[in-house]
């Protein structure tokens, strides 16, 4: 896998996440749901790239998502937490690596399907870790307690993954055009990595 190309796409997909949300968001405010482009990229890379590189790529993409997520705190401030999505993405990528041999990877719907499965696998641990953090910091009576309701976040995460899966179909098709640029070697007939 070419890391420079990966870095470029990571940058573009992060910008898509940060920039296209107002346009693609369904609902408004806290209830608004928007697709997660970084998740789609993670799933795509995990479905095509070498396993060793995929782990690091997922960790980096998750960390990027962590650092671009802002959680309000009960003290009226804002807080960024590094780790939850990074670790969740690592798990999601591991699941994708397990599943990719069972699917025809170059089909556009594959990216959508894998986004649904891997997204759920990635977001549930992230919600769990952030919930644990809230519990720990509440116990410490710290001002860093984030405003976080686990049930609401799980529903929101599920809707986000669902929306991302839908968006992943056209996005996956586009990304497949750049498979060669990424340095992914795909079997011409089966669509599997060589």
């Amino acid at each position: 896998m070419r890391w420079t190309i990966f870095a470029f796409f990571a940058y573009v997909f992060l910008a898509l996440d940060l920039g296209l949300t107002p346009m693609l968001e369904i609902g408004a405010g806290e209830r608004g749901v928007a697709p997660c482009f970084v998740l789609i990229l993670m799933v795509y890379v995990a479905s095509m790239g070498p396993s060793q590189a995929v782990r690091w790529a997922a960790l980096i993409l998750g960390l990027i998502l962590d650092l671009s997520s802002i959680h309000p705190t009960t003290a009226g401030g804002a807080s960024t937490v590094a780790g939850p999505y990074a670790l969740g993405f690592v798990l999601g990528a591991a699941l994708t690596v397990q599943l990719r041999g069972l699917v025809y990877r170059r089909h556009p719907f594959t990216t959508g399907f894998l986004t649904l499965v891997a997204g759920a696998c990635a977001f549930v641990p992230a919600v769990f870790l952030l919930t644990m953090r809230r519990i720990v910091f509440t116990g410490l009576n710290s001002e860093n307690v984030i405003v976080w309701v686990a049930s609401d976040q799980l529903v929101h995460a599920f809707l986000t993954v669902l929306y991302s899966a839908v968006i992943a179909v056209p996005t996956g098709w586009v990304l497949n055009r750049f498979a060669g640029l990424f340095g992914f070697q795909v079997h011409p007939r089966l669509g599997h990595p060589r």
Binding site: L20, P50, G77, A78, S79, V81, A82, V97
Partner: protein
Amino acid sequence: MNHATPNRSFYAAVAALLIACFLPAPLTNFLAGRVGELAIPLSAPLQKLSRIVRAVPDRLDPEDPELVRLRTENEQQRVRIIQLEARAAAMAEQLERLQALQAIDPSFRFITASRVAESASGKSDLFKVNVGSAAGVPVGAYALYQGYQLVGRVSEVSPRSATILPVTSRAYGAVSAMVLPAEGNLAGAMPCSLDPVGDGTFSGVLGVESPVVPGLRVVLRDDDWTQVQTGPLIGFIERVAPKDDAPLWNTIVVRPRFQLTDVGVVDLRIPRLSRGGN
């Protein structure tokens, strides 16, 4: 399936991230800020594009109370802008007129004054305007309408107001005037004296040899207007008739261009030296 064994550094990174999940926010907020800044060059135009696309009118509910409120507010603002534009146009016109007047006669300045009160008795043509000696208005200053029509003179002045005695009032007395010939040149001007009749017109007499016809302009003849070619307009000759008891004279009736009792704004002509109510 390819299952490479993660190396130690990867495990170390995972462990570090697990710990980072429980670190106080200030330690990670700094890093988060840098990541956000990096993405801005690309995300900002996308945001702009998103908001443009999102603002498509057919996505809005026309019955939305907020939208209805905003539309009403917008309409009110538009009306207000139109009113302000009209007011600005009127003020610009007034300014141009004043500038033109001052260009003709630089020894005088002009102050625009609004009519603010009538005579309390109701039997007088006198009216008050909203500038007075504080603005340098002296007794005797001429009041003009539209920059050329003589309205009257200031008969009384207080710091904040001035009383105008209309030229059409009989209390004004005889007005020294000149009838301008049709060509409008001063050389053929015919001096005369006009008396206010009391109905808004003037009457005067001129010799039968004077070539006066209805429609000729009659202007003020006053040494005070030395810097200008002609004095302000008194009116136009409305009628010319032989004088009953003097066959060598004609009686002329002059009517102002405007109904002076309806004038709402006047320009007061003030000598440049007269300032600060002294």
